[in-house]
Every structure is written in structure tokens, then in C-alpha cells.
């Protein structure tokens, strides 16, 4: 169902691959990385030992973020039935498609 008042605007970050916690355990509270922008507006994401370069994309078809009302998480992924609230709109995404550049922190010296 709808919302009262102005809707929040969120941003989507699109990454290749999957997100996994560094140590086994839940993701909640754990750090993903630092998001910078170059002076030209290119987003740069540092995740662990990787640098990702991306671009800002204005979405042709914006997204609405729906939050399912009710305590339990969705019982099955394909089940849309139930009451939803539109929490936010997403009109912009930061797309990181390039291969991550690994950060080499220690270069052994040649003896």
C-alpha cells in the first residue's frame, strides 16, 4: 500500500558476484567497504582487498523498495501475497561492472 508524506530516495549499488561475510556468521553490522567518488564523479568502491570502478546510472525504470509487513521474513521467495509498504524510491544506481582490481599490500623485495 502507499505512503504518507515524501518518499525517501535511496540508491542502488550493483555488484558482480555474491556478498558473503568475512567470518562465518551474520552479515548484520559488518563492514562492506568505502565508497569514494573521483572529482569527475566516477564511483570507486574499496571492498576488502579490491578496488572497483563503476558508473552512476540514472534508472530508466525506477525501483520502489517494498517492505513486507508482519514479523517473519518471506516464507517463500515467490510469494508476493501480503501487505506491503513502499519505503523508498530508487532512481539512481551505482553500477560496478569492471573486474575488481586487487590491492597488493606487500611487494616482496628481490634479494
Amino acid at each position: 500500500s502507499g505512503s504518507a508524506g515524501a518518499l525517501a530516495q535511496w540508491v542502488l549499488v550493483e555488484l558482480q558476484g555474491e556478498v558473503e561475510p568475512r567470518q562465518s556468521g551474520s552479515l548484520a553490522g559488518s563492514l562492506l567497504g568505502d565508497l569514494h567518488y573521483t572529482c569527475e564523479g566516477v564511483p570507486v568502491l574499496i571492498v576488502g582487498h579490491h578496488i572497483l570502478y563503476g558508473k552512476v546510472v540514472q534508472l530508466e525504470k525506477p525501483f520502489a523498495v517494498l517492505v513486507k509487513e508482519g514479523a517473519a521474513p518471506q516464507d517463500s521467495p515467490g510469494e508476493p501475497h501480503g501487505h506491503y509498504t513502499v519505503t523508498a524510491l530508487i532512481k539512481t544506481k551505482l553500477l560496478f561492472k569492471t573486474r575488481p582490481k586487487p590491492i597488493i599490500t606487500h611487494v616482496p623485495k628481490k634479494v
Partner: protein, 388 residues
């Protein structure tokens, strides 16, 4: 995470802070990020503006139905689209434009990732699923105030709210359809008139028009209510006039311009439902005699109501109502080809017209669901697959 830590990471990554904007977002997963309570819905044009204007979108469908999304006046099918990428949704994350526009923006912005997903809901505009509306209202058609059945508490009745929760269509589409099928509100519930009762009401009106020698385009409401008010409830008299006429005001008085085609059509239905098939020419004679004085019957008034068989000797006509046929495209075509093997475009159009999507033509539907051939120099359509 502190500025010092951020700078250390930048040094390790061999990035020059001078080439970067001063603000940095430190992204962290929020406490409920992995709970899966948030999902993404891709919006079709117009829906974003509707949401921003404060209007609602509703997801409708019972457990055994495919869910649809309804705006105020449109209906969309919902489908999950998978992506091989990970989508993270981040509140309060700023774009370079926003950072540049606000020089006072914080150096370190701690952003919490609210959720993530590798799929989202896609929408596709679809026809509202309105067949169920008629089905619900036909559970207990209204037979008139004297009907004993209506007094029973077990009568199946639906309010507007009931219909909104049961029908997979937008509110506007539902209200529009209620008008199209001549439903009326009786004691707060939407009802369809039982056909015989409807014909009884219509007959009162047409007889009165005849005895008063009124013009068919100027039937006065006030006199109808005066003359017929003792026979039937006033709301029902007005309802039948609204169903079969166009209301207008002239010099302060309410009149109706009667729909000749609709009246002839109703009388044809009354005649046709008494037998499986009629001799066409006999039917046409009886039909013309049964309609009010001054009205002319024409076969094309019966589109979507009756089917003429020109291949039989003598030619025949039988009742075939489009609203009795399946709602699903493939099932509709299967049903039609089960009734008749080969159809001309002229004959089949009234029975598939309602299947057309917003910008789709009947021709496009025929190309998709039928195969064409030529029979005696005429183009005909038959099924793409064998019909058992």
C-alpha cells in the same frame, strides 16, 4: 571507521585523495539487511509519479491466483526477474551531484545497507481480471423486491470493498466494469438483475412508451416513475432506464434517449435462450415483431451474443455469449475452435475483441493463436493445434 582508517585504506590502494571528492561513504550492513524483508519492484512509466503523489499501489490475488499489482486505474502482472548481480539498497547514499551541490556535506558518511537482493519484481501491464466480477454477482442475481430468496441471510452479496479485495483489477477498472454490466447498488450491495426480472422491467417501460406514444429519444423519467411506481420500486425503474437509455436534462426535466440496439439485443437474447438453435429467417420474423414499435432489428446488433451458421440449410442462429467464454487467451481460442472449426475474421472478432491488449489488434491475436487458410475464396482461421 575513522578518517585515519579511511586514509590508510586509500594509501594502501594507491589512490590519490587529491583526485577524489572529500566525502566518503563507509558502507556497513544494517541489522536487518539479511532478513529479506525488503524487496525491489521495478516501476513502469507513470507509477513512480503516482507513488510520489502519495497514491497507493495494491497487490491483489488470493492464494490460488497469480498476483497482480493495481494502481488507481491500471492492472499489471508481476513476475520475478533474476539477475546474476547483487543489488544493495542504501538509504542516504549521495550521488556526486548531491555532494557537489552541498559543500557542507560530511566528510565521513556512515551508510547502512538496508537490504540486498539478486532479484526484483517486474511489471507488465495486463487486462484486468474481471470475469470473476460477473461470476460473483451472478451467484445471487436480484430477482425483484418480492423475491423470497433475497430475504434469506445466506444470499451472496458484495459491497465495493468486498469486490476490491476479491477482484484482481484496479478500482477504476472495477467500477467501470460494474457500469458496463449494468450492475446496481441495492442496500449497499452490488447486484446484477436476474434476466427475467430485467426483461419484466424493460417490458413495463416499452409498453408505457407505446401507450403514451412517446418518441424513443424523449422518455420522461417523472412520468415513468408516476405510472410504474405502483408496479415496481422507483430505483428499479430508474435503473432500467439508465441501463437502456442515455440520461439528459431538457428544460429542467430528466429524459432518456433509449438505446434501440441494446433493447433489440436484449429481446433477441430472451428469444434465443429458449432453444439451442433457431431457423434464422423464422427467428428474424419473430424478433422484429417482438421489439417496440419504431425499432428496427439487425443481425449486427447481436455481435458477441449470437452466432449465425450460414453453412447449414436452412441457415440457423444460436445463442453464444462472449461473457460465457474463458478469460485466458489460449483457452478462449480453444473454446471457439471447439464450437466451430473454421471462422472468418468478421465472425470471430466479436468473440476475441476483449482479449486485445492496450495496443494490440485483432489481427495480431489471430496471427498468434490461429492459422489461416482459404476456403471458397474466403480467408478463414482455424486452430494451430488439433482440438480433441
Amino acid at each position: 571507521r575513522s578518517r585515519a582508517q579511511v586514509d590508510a585504506t586509500l594509501r594502501a590502494a594507491r589512490l590519490n585523495p587529491g583526485e577524489l571528492l572529500p566525502a566518503v561513504h563507509c558502507l556497513r550492513f544494517g541489522p536487518h539487511a539479511a532478513a529479506g524483508q525488503c524487496c525491489l519492484l521495478q516501476l513502469e512509466p507513470g507509477l513512480c509519479a503516482e507513488l510520489e503523489a502519495g497514491r497507493s499501489l495494491v497487490i491483489r490475488g488470493e492464494k490460488d491466483e497469480q498476483a497482480v499489482l493495481c494502481s488507481k486505474d491500471k492492472t499489471y502482472d508481476m513476475k520475478i526477474a533474476d539477475t546474476s548481480n547483487m543489488l544493495l539498497f542504501i538509504p542516504g547514499c549521495k550521488t556526486p551531484e548531491q555532494l557537489n551541490a552541498d559543500p557542507s556535506s560530511c566528510n565521513i558518511i556512515h551508510s547502512q545497507i538496508a537490504g540486498f537482493s539478486n532479484n526484483y519484481w517486474e511489471l507488465r501491464r495486463c487486462r484486468p481480471k474481471l470475469k470473476k466480477l460477473r461470476k460473483l454477482l451472478m451467484e445471487d442475481p436480484y430477482e425483484g423486491p418480492d423475491s423470497r430468496k433475497d430475504q434469506a441471510l445466506t444470499v451472496s452479496k458484495y459491497t465495493t470493498e468486498d469486490l476490491l479485495s476479491l477482484i484482481q483489477a484496479s478500482e477504476e477498472e472495477i467500477l467501470h466494469q460494474l457500469q458496463a454490466i449494468d450492475a446496481c447498488k441495492i442496500e449497499g450491495y452490488w447486484r446484477i438483475l436476474e434476466f427475467d426480472y430485467e426483461m419484466k422491467l424493460l417490458n413495463h417501460v416499452t409498453q408505457l412508451i407505446d401507450s403514451e406514444s412517446w418518441s424513443l429519444s424523449k422518455v420522461p423519467l417523472r412520468t415513468c416513475l408516476e405510472e410504474l411506481g405502483s408496479l415496481e420500486p422507483r430505483e428499479m425503474i430508474e435503473h432500467i432506464l439508465l441501463s437502456y437509455g442515455r440520461k439528459y436534462v431538457d428544460d429542467g426535466e430528466v429524459y432518456f434517449e433509449m438505446h434501440e440496439d441494446k433493447i433489440c439485443r436484449a429481446i433477441a437474447q430472451m428469444l434465443l435462450q429458449n432453444a439451442v438453435k433457431f431457423n434464422l429467417s423464422e427467428f428474424q420474423e419473430v424478433w422484429q415483431q417482438s421489439v417496440p414499435e419504431g425499432m428496427t432489428t439487425r443481425i449486427d446488433q447481436l455481435k458477441g451474443l449470437a452466432l449465425v451458421d450460414k453453412s447449414s440449410r436452412p441457415e440457423t442462429i444460436s445463442l453464444l455469449k462472449v461473457e460465457d467464454l474463458p478469460e485466458d487467451n489460449q483457452e478462449r481460442f480453444n473454446s471457439l475452435f471447439g464450437i466451430r472449426e473454421k471462422w472468418t475474421e468478421v465472425d470471430i472478432t466479436p468473440y476475441i475483441q476483449d482479449l486485445c491488449a492496450e495496443k494490440q489488434s485483432v489481427g495480431a491475436l489471430l496471427t498468434k493463436y490461429a492459422r489461416s487458410s482459404t476456403l471458397n475464396g474466403v480467408k478463414v482461421y482455424n486452430s494451430r493445434r488439433p482440438i480433441s
